[in-house]
Symmetry: C2
Subunit: 216 residues, 2 copies
């Protein structure tokens, strides 16, 4: 599958590297073409990987992963271009974490509580099929759930049933069984708002290798 | 132990009834003495149970449970009286849920994100030993963890180590093993902010019989 990764940070690198290892055609996008980290990704993964601007990547991908940092996501997606996101599954991994006041981060009020970053992205790009997923865990765990032993959960939420099925299929490539479908994109409020507990738990646990499970 | 329950709603009734069944002296407090629901609790549980105002209950209890609704908690605790809460373990079960705009509830901005209701209670009553606990689950589960099979978690957070030990002891009476100590009262941000996911999951699950587990 042709897949776009928007963002060259740790999350983007991890998702892109895994998808490349699985044999997919992956284009990593950044603000400018020939971003140093995007070039390093291509150099390391070769063959079917490539890099370019956010718009280049979004135009290329059948599926688009938003791996940009939450505060910059809407700008990055504007650079990607609504026409390049139209009718595509846009997997939103971002969280509206505001680190500007130091640690621990709070959530940007304009992207939380009575709305969410996932919802704001869906509103800004009504023709994209936004699916919130993977945002409740460390990126290494996203692509390798067995890093944490036993059963634990991946949440997905979005308005388009077909796009959610596609995300569940991709999650299956990574090893996820039975993701919890929380319904429409407004469910992103819930999954984004558990980040403060996630950050706290990382401190308690002294490791990001943990995950939430809904026991029922 | 002499225990005060502030609040006559479902949470207060459930905690008070369990503690009475365990043989403790329980006084249920409300805005006014002889609240109908508080009288019903005493009528049903007899003997060592009693009722009165918030202040009556707080003065009576060695340990005080705040089971009032989040938006009313600070007012209720003011009626309970700082002098009656001084040096006592104040177990805060409340969540800053704002139902005024309909379902799903949002969180009151003044009690969330860069602060929490637990913190605001601790600030308003600096001589009380506030411990946030039990606020991440349905009240029936609080006092009977085996309602959900298998292992799942209770979170505690507060500034006073001795008070947290007391809460862990009480949690043990209810059947909780190994609560997760999240540190100081600022951790209440995390546990209060998972309520939107809890509410969403209740809809997905069509039952409140579930709980969070940290898998690591």
């Amino acid at each position: 599958m042709k897949i776009a990764i928007l963002g060259t940070g740790q999350v983007g690198q991890t998702i892109a590297t895994k998808l490349a290892a699985l044999g997919h055609e992956v284009k990593m996008g950044s603000r400018t073409a020939n971003n140093e980290k995007a070039n390093a990704f291509v150099a390391a993964n070769g063959g079917k990987t490539s890099q370019g601007t956010f718009a280049d990547a979004a135009a290329f991908g059948e599926v688009v992963f938003n791996c940009t940092s939450g505060g910059a996501s809407l700008d990055a997606l504007k650079m990607a271009g609504a026409e390049n996101l139209k009718d595509k599954t846009l997997i939103d991994l971002s969280n509206p974490l505001d680190f500007s006041k130091g640690m621990p981060p709070s959530l940007y009020p304009q992207y939380s509580n009575t709305t969410s970053l996932g919802e704001e992205i869906q509103k800004a790009f009504p023709d994209a099929k936004v699916v919130k997923a993977f945002n409740t865990m460390n990126c290494k765990l996203m692509v390798e759930p067995t890093l944490v032993p036993g059963e634990h959960d991946l949440f997905v939420g979005g308005n388009d049933a077909g796009a959610k099925e596609k995300v569940k299929e991709i999650a299956g490539w990574f090893g996820w069984k039975n993701p919890i479908d929380l319904g429409d994109i407004t469910s992103a409020r819930g999954t984004e708002m558990i980040l403060p507990l996630w950050v706290r738990m990382m401190g308690v646990n002294q490791s990001p290798n943990f995950n939430f499970k809904i026991v029922r």
